[in-house]
Symmetry: C2
Subunit: 560 residues, 2 copies
């Protein structure tokens, strides 16, 4: 690894997370003795990281350069942008955290479980310019699937660095418009470097407008004869407002289920994002007092999460809601890759209980993405007109395709940088180059502890999940150099031993025989050698007999 | 479970596999003392069945009713329709197996690994009528993603039962046309019951034609400056022929990689499905003798399968093919749900190596499904005009939606039957009713053995994969009722023990203390009681300390 070496006038731009992945976003702008951090998110792992709750970034570089840090600036309130703040604060001193609107509320909420952490949390005004040493920061409003999403401009002596945050363009949004004028103005004045959201680089065209989704949901509501049950992402407050409006239009009362959805409605109502006449929301315990066609249920579980409200309704284990003929369940969401099977299972169960189920499809736009498609990426590039371009927020293929879109829309070939976490881009008004690397990596969070799950543990879980485990426990009498009793053979997840006593007995005899022979002439019992022998013996026999490769766990016990 | 009771004149129709799932298709038509089986497939399991190779059906009912079986009739040569034939033959005597064209070749190929099985395998003619006792069978050609796919008509004294097999309608297919006239004729003469493929019931409209895919592939080939590397399903021989044609048109030689793809090209060429002038296919070892723009590589790995050719090319571990700038990889496939992540990973790696990657999308139709969309399902229903309707081949939601499509197109409400495996539909010319159940279930195949993996083993693998395993091994001296030495604490996939010696040592002491106390006054050592105690003790402490729940495996050894 070539270490980062910046020249005095170079601005260093790098990600500690967010490149080559969708999640744990954290971007840094460093200039001389100053460093600004943009976002501090977590990543929800895929199935390969068995049993891991989530992943955060390695903050070593920030720990070592703590004195340079002037601020953490937050683009918006999604977990992959704010979720790691408590972990960051435990390791790194952050003088000030700047955020806006809903993100402020969500960060405060998160910090309630960490009362010993008392960061200075400041709300920025979208039109202000924050002076942070030689650097300063300003903002522009964008459209996204959560209210109060902003792009961030870092003003440096070498030029402006624009970070889009997560964005799409929605010309008929549920909330306020994006600030087209500010973006165009930035482009006119000249932008040195653009960092832009690549999530949907593989999807062509424009994402659908929320206005279309509103219409669809209203249309569907007018046709439902029983209860309308809508599942969506709890953070999508605008979507909840659309469901509220459709309910008011069809004279339905609304009951809310699922802890995070209840919190969304509380926070959203408090902060004014959700507007409903008095009496629209009812106590969830009183739903059975109303006719079915007078009830809307808003709930969590749109991804088939096993413990969420909708999954329990589908499984028939929800205490209050029993689905019946005439009820219609609307998925106002799309399954995230990896969740298709659990969502499919939920839908199967709902159909079995007699519900009708409507999912997002070309025939019924019950959902739209929060991220720009290719045409919106092009619009952003045309508005901002950057000299240098660094696609962010995406897996490698998304970054790569976005870089091609950049060149297509006017970025000079060679001025696009598809980078990995830790790669440092050094820019001046006249040049851009990769100037080495800083440390970046994954820290796994499982249960209470941070970072004690390493790659060996993950590899073991993977092996265990495929063929299970077989253990042979051999007890040796050290004074006589003899194996005592029959070795114990025990397994989990391999085959059900009670039904295979013959095999167990055979393996036990073979281990006894092999170990007895080995130790006969040993002066001192060599435990590691015996363990290796037992492992090899058992692996070979078992593979031959079953074509399986369970993990072998040999145990050698010495008694006198 | 209410057992099946058929009246003398009733025809029993049921599935042993294929309802509520996509895979292990096996449908039965039973009349008096006769039974015809349609297809005998396997199911490739999803991620929940950790380490299982595949799943077959429980054949108990067929074993018990062996004497009734007159024939196994095969619709087409996909694994989910023929893959379980060797397993079936080991348990059940099947007098005759009827199949056509490619399916015959593939079944023979499969039976080469089972030379002791010598079934009577007969090729049917698509225009013949097989007389099998009181029942008889005829056929009609359909379109699907493998050559020689047929629908099957079972002629019974009560009326005709039509089974579509897997189908779509392609008005410009790569192979022969579907037999619209036969289907329409069946409808005109009157059909008692239709069993129809539901796989794509959630997709609207018509599937795209193979002709469109041909055009797209040719277009893409003319624009590629380096090598054209195309990955597709090995069984899709028509697709391979399209790639051959595009290669000939752009003057490229073709090299084939991946065992199943090589077999496809051999069988396909032999049987006349793949047509190419002499010299079109070249020895795969000579690819480097040709200019990059004169080479097409056809390979396996379109689903990101870790050992397939394309995955090894992407990972840089393929012995012969190193991808470089200018090479273009075309995925002539769509990821099956559950495979998105592995396919995404392959694409990332290919981009990293400098290749361009083209996937199936609305902008480039590099693939089309082999199964009917909603409009084609309607066309099938309009041609066949069945009195009763039983959607098959799909998960519950697909069957349910297909049943609604049936009613929409003229099936009388109440005449549609959404069933589970084992449910028996009893039909006569005037009636249809569910007449109880026969035994149906899953048998798991893992490695060499059949059915020795039960649900306990699967559950254990699931647990092991999430938090790993912790074992405590306690040795007790029976004569003194004392614990000998310190109990051994050992783990896999939980935490890396070498880095946690303090915790290990603490757990060991606690176990020793607890067991010592328990056994002090025991007359005879109660091993199961001690195991339960150790499990409870360790679970509680570990959860408290780590919020994790590894599987606890207590071992109690007795020495004298």
């Amino acid at each position: 690894m070539q270490e980062k070496i910046l020249k005095h006038n170079e601005v260093g731009v790098f990600a500690l997370g967010g490149l080559g992945e969708v999640g744990k976003n954290m971007y840094c702008v460093e200039y001389q003795d100053e460093l600004i951090i943009i976002d501090s998110g977590i990543l929800f792992p895929d199935d390969h990281l068995l049993g891991i709750d989530y992943v955060i970034n390695d903050y070593s570089y920030l720990v070592e350069n703590q004195d340079k840090i002037t601020a953490l600036v937050i683009t918006h309130g999604h977990e992959d942008h704010i979720g790691a703040i408590p972990y960051l604060l435990r390791q790194v001193k952050i003088p000030k955290i700047y955020a806006n609107g809903l993100a402020i509320g969500l960060i405060k909420n998160k910090l309630e479980e960490h009362r010993d952490l008392k960061p200075t949390l400041i709300e920025y005004d979208e039109d202000e310019r924050l002076k942070l040493g030689k650097l300063s920061v300003s903002f522009f409003r964008t459209n996204h699937s959560i209210p109060d999403s902003f792009g961030i401009v870092v003003h440096t002596p070498e030029g402006k660095i624009v970070h889009t945050g997560d964005f799409k363009f929605d010309f008929t949004p549920t909330g306020p418009d994006a600030d087209y004028q500010k973006m165009a103005g930035l482009g006119q004045a000249g932008v040195l470097l653009l960092l832009s959201d690549s999530t949907n680089a593989e999807l062509g065209a424009f994402t659908k407008s929320e206005a279309g989704v509103s219409e669809t949901i209203k249309d569907i509501f007018t046709k439902i004869e029983g209860r309308a049950i809508v599942a969506t992402f709890a953070s999508n407050i605008h979507r909840v407002q659309q469901i509220v409006e459709a309910s008011i239009a069809t004279k339905r009362k609304i009951a809310v289920f699922g802890r995070s959805m209840i919190r969304t409605v509380e926070v959203g109502t408090e902060m004014g994002y959700i507007k409903a006449p008095e009496g629209t929301f009812i106590d969830s315990r009183s739903i059975n007092k109303y006719a079915a066609n007078k009830i809307t249920i808003v709930c969590t579980g749109s991804q088939g999460e096993p413990l969420a409200a909708l999954s329990r309704i589908a499984a028939g284990t929800h205490r209050q809601i029993k689905v019946s003929n005439g009820d219609t369940v609307i998925f106002s969401s799309s399954p995230i890759p990896g969740n298709q099977e659990s969502v499919g299972k939920t839908i199967n169960q709902l159909f079995r209980r007699g519900a009708n189920v409507i999912i997002n499809s070309p025939f019924a736009d019950t959902h739209t993405s929060g991220h720009a498609g290719q045409e919106e990426m092009k619009l952003m590039l045309k508005l901002i007109k950057p000299k240098y371009f660094m696609p962010i927020h995406g897996e490698y293929r998304m970054l790569k395709i976005h870089s091609q879109i950049g060149i297509m829309t006017g970025v000079k070939k060679g001025n696009e940088f598809v980078m990995d976490n830790g790669d440092v881009l050094a820019v001046t008004r006249r040049s851009a180059r990769i100037a080495g690397k800083v440390k970046a990596g994954n820290i796994y969070i499982d249960g209470k502890s941070i970072g004690d799950i390493g790659s060996i543990v993950i590899r073991d879980r993977k092996l265990l999940s495929e063929d299970g485990l077989l253990s042979a426990i051999v007890t040796i009498n050290e004074s006589t150099n003899e194996v005592i009793n029959k070795p114990v053979i025990i397994s989990r997840g391999f085959i059900y031993m009670r039904e295979h006593t013959e095999l167990t007995s055979e393996l036990s005899s073979l281990v006894k025989e092999s170990v007895s022979k080995k130790i006969k002439d040993m002066k001192k019992i060599n435990v590691s050698l015996l363990k290796r022998e037992i492992t090899k013996l058992l692996s070979d026999i078992i593979y031959e007999k079953t074509e399986r490769s369970p993990m072998i766990m040999p145990v050698v016990m010495i008694v006198e």
